[in-house]
Amino acid sequence: MNTINEQIHRVPLVLGDKSFKDVTDAIARPAEAKAPKWWVVGVLFSASVACILFAMIGYLIWDGVGVWGLNNPVGWGFAIVNFVFWVGIGHAGTLISAILFLFKQKWRTSINRFAEAMTIFAVICAGIFPGIHVGRIWLAYYLFPIPNSMAMWPNFKSALLWDVFAVSTYFTVSLLFWYVGLIPDLATFRDRAKTRVKRLAYGFFALGWSGSSRQWINYEKAYLILAAIATPLVLSVHSIVSFDFATSNLPGWHTTIFPPYFVAGAIFSGFAMVLTLLIIARKIFNLEDLVTIRHLENMNKFILATGTMVGYAYAMEFFMAWYSGNQYEAFAFVNRAFGPYAWAYWIMISCNVISPQFFWFRSLRTSIPVMFIISIFVNIGMWFERFVITVTSLHRDFLPSSWDYYTPTWVDIMTFVGSFGLFFSLFLLFLKFLPIISIAEVKGVMAIADPHHYESHTKKGGQL
């Protein structure tokens, strides 16, 4: 797509007349300069919030799942909601890095590292919740197919087990993908390192990268293969997460639309989260030339598209509830919109369906404050979507005698807040110590990387 075509004047991916060195300097600066004050404060703050998470987990393990607000009809609450929320956020990373890579969407290079890091951290946060939500955490290893003398295996029919495999695979592949992409940049950091410790640390993880042609050939192959492996995972992991609900028989869960709907929702929420973080980061690190308005606008288009898909799914669920003629199904959805949890439903609708519609307008799509606010709304809305699906379906199912209301406790809320602490702690460490934009890849899409660049050097910014 982004091949050389004299006729088509493409918008430059990197603005400003930058040399390769300018790019390297800009990206390496945070890791080499003294930690700024805001960063120290930020890390301390988020680490303390992360400590709340671990304190809450400790309390949970000591006292029991009852410290949460769960009850008999509502067996899953915040933990599962948070799990799906974080896994969903994790989706953008792989989508940006793998799928867009395969489609040769070169604009991705400025944001893929960032998005992948976010994926890893989000999946770490997500992975905590299914682990701790079980009643006997010390026996959670029963979920893994560990050979044992009693020939006891997990139940391969259970979607929850598929989930264990899906999420762990996703995490492993995402981590590998991210790490492989990091290797050349780690080598750059190693080479620029001024202290022995840094040199050794970056050198250890750079795996002896020297930048030889042979290494580059192998690297490109490996990266392509990993991208190919990661691509189906983007679709599979959230499909499987949706199976947790879809394979049950609960009205409101038992729905065939769930896999595509969950994937769309995951991309939706993932992009929103990337956007939120990116808007802040590009401002702080003065990366406006690398992460341009065009990048942001493209992401907004994704948000608009997936947001509309999600809205369509909401409408379709209602249609099917009516069309199926199943009274339990119909009640579940009417109850969602007008029952005791209607407030959650309408938060979801306004954040997820209404707010992205502003992106139809170019002026709003390219306005930083507008997109920041909408991205926050989408984050909130997508959390509520999972809440609505999980809780409203459970709280009123078949037999009215069991109907009840679920209210989260302070432990529920602080655990969720704490997971943000963990996420931001990891993210701030990433900002400080790793190249937040792929140096090697960005250089590849710069104007001066074009062999014909100097032929048309008179044109400002070059063309691609």
Partner: protein, 962 residues
């Protein structure tokens, strides 16, 4: 085989016996390392002493229960009981299978008595002026009390023959039986007609029509457990019309409910009496009408006329009943109507009490009499046998003066503040005795366990010491038995002697004129009736009964004012709002609950709550002290406070009060859940089975037995006996009020209550017990990631607690929502738990108190926190029965689940669905059978339901039931 004989079975490892010195050193060092690494090993080793039998008992086989006959007065009915004991510990109580008054069935109270025995809050020692006093001191004090008219004895009931004979020696003293649960007004009416004290016995076999004014004859006012069974047997022939201001368990069996306020009911009864007696009565009968004036404006003749017609067309086959809260005159009118219509002697029998010597008087009269005794005599000593007088006598301190009060009790109560001496009482499972039932059966009360606390004394022990008898109670029982020509040993094993039924009393005179005949026009009436589980408050420290939901309100851990929807709207009240209600004698304050079926001019409250005892679990709910356990009070004012509380209900009442969305949702699905049908609909059933086919390969069941259950909704009265029996049998913990509010109650079988209404005044109440239905295509099994819930080949859906990690996915996917999750270690959270003796480093836990630990059924695992649990069809009983069959060839037919065994109306049948001639077969092939949610989900439940029958009382069916 011989070639491998010399080889060790397992391969040589580091830990197998060493062959060489080198290997020995190797394993030694490995052992040392492992021991050092694990660190805690040496600390963890518990130091506990195990006592073994030096001479093995011949009667006790470890692991096998022994059954002993005993008996008790429970809810004022004498019940012969069968106690299940393991190595000397009673763990369960059931009715005696041969005893004619319960036929082996029980009540929630019988089931919960085991909790009373092991209650760690029981008084353990006697006190004299607050200090410990040993038994000898107490007996000396008792022996020195002069048995003249300065002594007052207050006893709780009149059934103990030992006490009856001992009381012969205290004739000079004042003796009263204070029984708050007695149907005193009926008793008075009978006395007026016959000159003798007695009670009514109904013969349902001959009954075709019942007109019931709020008599809870299938609940609190039931004659005995056998009468419930008798009603159920003949139910299909009985047309049952219930006139009520607040719903009761009995109303769940009514074919028609007419909602009327108590004031209207009074006029209705009077109008009915006028119509029937003036037309058909003799001059003597008519005498009673002399003082009766009817306010005809309060009587709806459209309702009265068909009822009169029905009564007349069922002469000598009808019963008119009046509830215990109505004044004596209304009971007398009902008695007169029954006499005129020749029901008396046919369907209604007036029975005298079996012990004519006892001075049994209605509760109110007794309290007044005690007051008079205090006023007219100088009472020096009061001995109360578990009767908490200050609760019934306001200003008790003024009344009692400075008399010495001896309080024989199991818990510190209101009387404790006045008592100089506390005598710690026994539980009936610890004492000897002999009881005589109202039907003249004699039951042996034999201890099945040595008193848990060595000092405690039974009521008979105290009386023995008081009269200075040199015979022990044990000897007295033997002496008393001599007159019955029955060997003591035989009675101990048989449990009871069937008595000869006493002749019914005859009405031989016109009753004394009644004065209370003025029309009472209450705008608002407060009706008081005993709590179904606390009764008069005697079970106020019983956590099992506290957590058993009230059949009507579904409230646990407390009561509330039941109000009508329209009343609530008019006064801007919602469920949980706290109000103060003023009646003549008292001001009550507590939350309201809006309930369908409640009359709009009536507010109802259950008696027996508040701070009854000074114990862990007492103190919940609104205190009704100062009011009668059965009573109607004109309400002077109702005022709303700013307070609001959350009520601990186990079933929300969605909406039938506030939320129209939920209400319509329930209305739409109720026919799929309850399948209530008319007989015509049953006879012309059109099979709308969907013939659903499973996408999965369905499980094939190949076991020798295939277990199944049937639950008859026509027979279920919502009494929750099954739930308490299940709790005792399966070691189900209580969770407490806050956790019930959160929705975490653990009961394996719950009784769903559904109101069906077309307008607010015509509401039926319907019950449906739901436990795990053991689906053949179980949704829970598909989703468990660790295979912790699976099927066995006999159709049981079994839980593997060891394997369960607690994802709760199974509970989410269970459409019946019968799975219960251990959110906490409920045994540790129980406020009666004690700190565990630390055995190892990390042992900072609590455990059930020492007596509570004895109560657990050893056959059933106690579940730890974090695991899912649910009904197992009493798998321990199934295994036991199968083992007995294998070992001794005992037929498996005797197998009963705990719920089935306890059910007073035989609503539950359990057995092998393949076994021919099993009662289960009849149920499974019944027209009334339906499988809950089968059409929706193809779960193929093994528990099937028999639908409730809907009948129209009048041909024109003026009110359509849904």
């Amino acid at each position: 085989m011989s070639s491998i004989d010399n080889k060790s079975e397992f391969k040589t490892t580091l830990f197998s016996s060493p062959k060489t010195r080198r290997e020995a050193m190797k394993s030694l060092s490995t052992g040392m390392t492992v021991a050092a690494l694990s660190g805690c090993v040496s600390i963890r080793k518990p130091k506990q002493i195990i006592k073994t039998y030096t001479h093995e008992s011949t009667t006790t086989v470890p692991g096998l229960p022994n059954y002993y006959a005993t008996s008790a007065v429970i809810n004022n009915r004498v019940n012969s009981l069968l106690a299940t004991t393991y190595e000397g510990r009673p763990t369960k109580l059931d009715g005696h299978p041969d005893y004619p008054e319960n036929n082996g069935r029980s009540s929630a109270h019988i089931q919960a008595e085991i909790q009373q025995l092991y209650d760690p809050d029981r008084l353990k020692t006697h006190t004299l002026n607050g200090d410990y006093a040993n038994v000898l001191t107490i007996k000396n004090v008792l022996g020195n009390i002069s048995l003249d008219d300065s002594t007052l004895l207050v006893l709780p009931n009149h059934h103990s023959m030992v006490i009856e004979s001992l009381l012969k020696s205290v004739k000079k003293s004042h003796v009263f039986i204070v029984d708050p649960l007695m149907n005193g007004n009926q008793n008075n009416a009978i006395y007026h007609f016959t000159g003798q004290r007695g009670f009514l016995h109904y013969n349902f076999k001959k009954t075709k029509f019942i007109l019931n004014f709020e008599s809870d004859f299938l609940g609190l006012e039931s004659e005995n457990i056998a009468s419930l069974q008798s009603y159920m047997t003949h139910q299909s022939d009985i047309m049952h019309v219930s006139v009520s201001s607040h719903l009761s368990m009995t109303d769940s069996k009514a074919d028609r409910i007419i909602n009327q306020s108590p004031s209207h009911q009074r006029e209705f009864i009077k109008a009915l009496a006028h119509r029937v007696i003036t037309q058909y009565g003799t001059e003597i009968d008519k005498a009673i009408l002399k003082t009766i004036n009817v306010d005809t404006t309060m009587v709806d003749t459209n309702q009265l006329n068909p009822l009169v017609d029905s009564l007349l067309s069922h002469k000598s086959a009808a019963i008119v009943m009046v509830g215990a809260a109505f004044e004596s005159v209304y009971h007398a009118l009902a008695l007169a109507i029954n006499t005129v219509l020749k029901n008396n002697g046919s369907t209604v029998h007036i029975k005298p009490y079996s012990d004519s010597s006892a001075t049994i008087q209605p509760f109110n009269d007794t309290i007044d009499a005690i007051r008079t005794v205090f006023q007219t005599n100088r009472i020096k000593t009061v001995i109360s046998f578990g009767v908490d007088l200050p609760r019934f006598m306001p200003n008790f301190s003024d009344v009692v003066g400075n008399a010495l009060i001896i309080n024989v009790c199991n818990y510190r109560n209101a009387l404790s503040a006045f008592s100089a001496i506390h005598i710690a009482g026994t539980h009936f499972l610890e004492e000897w005795g002999l009881l005589k039932s109202d039907h003249n059966h004699i039951c042996i009360q034999q201890p099945v366990i040595e008193p848990l606390y060595p000092d405690v004394l039974s009521h008979a022990d105290v009386l023995t010491a008081l009269v200075g008898s040199s015979f022990t109670v044990y000897q007295q029982v033997q002496t008393l038995l001599k007159s019955y020509n029955q060997s003591f040993d035989q009675l101990k094993s048989k449990g009871f002697i069937v008595g000869k039924s006493l002749a019914s009393l005859r009405i031989n005179k016109a009753p004394i004129a009644f004065s209370a005949s003025e029309t009472i026009r209450n705008d608002l009436t407060l009706t008081v009736s005993p709590s179904y589980y606390m009764l008069d408050g005697r079970y106020a420290n019983n956590a099992w009964l506290h957590e058993t939901p009230d059949p009507i309100t579904k409230l646990t851990w407390g009561n509330a004012f039941i109000i009508n929807t329209d009343f609530a709207k008019k006064n801007h009240l919602v469920t949980g709002d706290v109000v103060t209600i003023d009646v003549a004698d008292a001001r009550l304050k507590g939350p309201v609950i809006i309930l369908p079926g409640q009359n709009r001019a009536t507010i109802s409250i259950n008696y027996g709550y508040g701070a009854i005892y000074q114990t862990t679990f007492s103190g919940y709910g609104i205190s009704t002290d100062g009011l009668d356990p059965y009573g109607h009070y004109p309400i002077q004012s109702v005022s709303k406070t700013n307070e609001h509380v959350t009520l601990a209900d186990t079933q929300m009442n969605h909406g039938l009060d506030e939320e129209s969305l939920a209400a319509s949702g329930i209305k739409d699905r109720i026919k799929n859940i309850l399948h209530i049908k008319t007989i015509a609909e049953l006879d012309h059933a059109h099979h709308d089975d969907h013939h659903i086919h499973s996408l999965f390969k369905e499980q094939v069941y190949t076991g020798e037995h295939q277990w199944g259950m049937s639950i008859d909704l026509n027979a279920c009265i919502g009494c929750h006996t099954c739930a308490v029996a299940c709790q005792a049998e399966n070691n189900i913990p209580i969770v407490g009020k806050d956790e019930v509010i959160k929705g975490r109650e653990m009961s394996w079988i719950r009784i769903d209550r559904y109101f069906i209404e077309n307008d607010h005044n015509d509401v039926t109440i319907n019950y449906m017990p739901v436990a795990c239905v053991h689906c053949e295509n179980a949704p829970c099994e598909q989703v468990c990631p660790v295979n912790a819930t699976v099927h066995d080949d006999e159709g049981l859906n079994v839980m593997t607690y060891n394997r369960c990690i607690g994802t709760r996915y199974c509970a989410n996917n269970c459409p019946y929502k019968v799975r219960r999750f251990n959110f906490f270690d409920w045994h540790q959270k129980n406020p009666q738990s004690v700190e565990k003796k630390r055995i190892h480093l990390f042992d900072y836990f609590r455990e059930p108190s020492a007596p509570t630990q004895k109560q657990f059924n050893p056959e059933v695992t106690i579940r730890m926190r974090g695991v899912m649990e649910k009904c197992t069809y009493c798998i321990q009983r199934i295994s036991h029965a199968k083992l007995q069959k294998k070992l001794h060839g005992t037929p498996i037919d005797g197998l009963q689940t705990a719920c089935q065994q306890s059910c007073p109306t035989n609503a539950i049948v359990f057995g092998d669905i393949n076994q021919k001639n099993h009662p289960l077969q009849a149920a499974r092939s019944s027209k009334r059978r339906y499988d809950l949610l089968q059409n929706e989900l193809n779960t193929k439940p093994r528990t099937v339901y028999l639908a409730k029958i809907k009948r129209s009382v009048w041909k024109e069916t003026p009110h359509e039931h849904h």
